[in-house]
């Protein structure tokens, strides 16, 4: 039941962010599905397998990158549309809120700790997406080589 609820809310959240970032109207459904899957991967990894947040973010982001590549090729739109909506559930909003709040309360020790965490998570997400791109490129090269041979 928990998973169903999480799936529904993450789908809604990603679709709503698609509206806020003005994704093309007909692609909103895809945005929601990409966001939902990425959040479910993250949720299962952190809850069930007790992964670290950073590792789970990386895995989810890599999945988003691969999905975005395939969808962008098929639907002929920029990859960024799906990247953005897939990343949205992973974005370290809570951690960055804690960082800002600690800094504002003059609690610099915790503030710097949280900020470093935000940076690490954002870096993991960016790395996941870049790795996905490299992965797709390598795959494509291998496939074209096979065809020519």
């Amino acid at each position: 039941m928990d998973y169903v609820i999480q799936a529904v809310v993450s789908f809604l959240a990603s679709t709503c962010f698609g509206v806020i970032f003005n994704a093309p109207f007909r692609k909103l459904l895809y945005c929601g599905v990409v966001g939902m899957t990425s959040w479910l991967i993250y949720f299962v990894l952190t809850e069930l397998y007790a992964f670290d947040i950073i590792h789970a973010s990386f895995a989810s982001a890599m999945f988003v990158g691969i999905c975005a590549h395939i969808l962008a090729k098929r639907l002929r739109v920029p990859m960024m549309i799906f990247n953005v909506s897939g990343i949205i559930p992973l974005v370290p909003g809570g951690t960055s809120y804690n960082a800002m709040r600690s800094l504002m309360e003059n609690d610099f020790t915790m503030g710097v700790q949280y900020s470093a965490r935000v940076f690490m998570i954002a870096g993991a997400i960016a790395m996941g997406i870049v790795f996905a791109e490299v992965f797709i490129q390598v795959m494509r090269k291998a496939m074209t080589k096979q065809k020519t041979v």
Binding site: I5, Q6, V9, S10, L12, A13, T15, C16, F17, G18, V19, I20, F21, N22, A23, P24, F25, W39, R76, V77, P78, M80, I81, V84, I87, I88, P89, V91, P92, G93, G94, S96, Y97, A99, M100, R101, L103, M104, E105, V118, A122, G123, I125, A126, M127, I129, V130
Partner: protein
Amino acid sequence: MDYNERTEFAIDCFLLAGRIMMESGAETYRVEDTMLRMAHSQGMTSAQSYVTPTGIIFSLGRTQPTRITSIPNRATNLHRISLVNTISRKLTSSIITLEEAYDELKKIEKNNYMLPVFMQIIAAALASGCFLIMFAGVWQDFIPAMVAGGLGYWILLLVTDATKVKFFSEFVAAVAVGLVAALAVELGIGQQLDTIIIGSVMPLVPGVIITIAIRDLIAGHFTSGLARGIEALLTAFAIGSGIALALTIM
């Protein structure tokens, strides 16, 4: 059109495409790639572009003209990016001519293709509520988070229209979010203050900008990465101080 006029017109067209993409928050390497592809399709093979979030330099090389365009403000708008992408694709596969492409780009420049404001506010409200549940909040806080998030986003839009200072509007919106959340907890409608605030500031948080900034850095666009990183940092600072002010007042 003679040769000179034509090249100048072509540069205008490429720069316009680049500017619209950058204003809409596209990745730097994407913008450079699109501009160069468009130039190559017009037989201008030695074209060079240098893109930063605040301005673009585009040159055709040698003694040919070089132009600059500045980008005063940026907001994520995926629909415009996708429209420019379609036009560049059509131009490179010569389905449309340069003149037609320019006309269509001019049309995109004037319009921002946003959905009606009330739809955006509803979306922001619903997203806030959903994020509350994703961050392990309780269902009782769903409505307060929706109200705080929707109101915060509405105020962000209003103040941005009125003042044109992004930092200030984010600050005011964050104050509103903080006040509504604190009020809800005070009145007993909400339970966990922190979770409500985290959920409802999500529409304001620059998460995507931070990620794209790091992405630019990894791709080797250090200027763009740093510029975007600072933009995200300023936004985060505005939100943080806004929330802090609201909590001090209550």
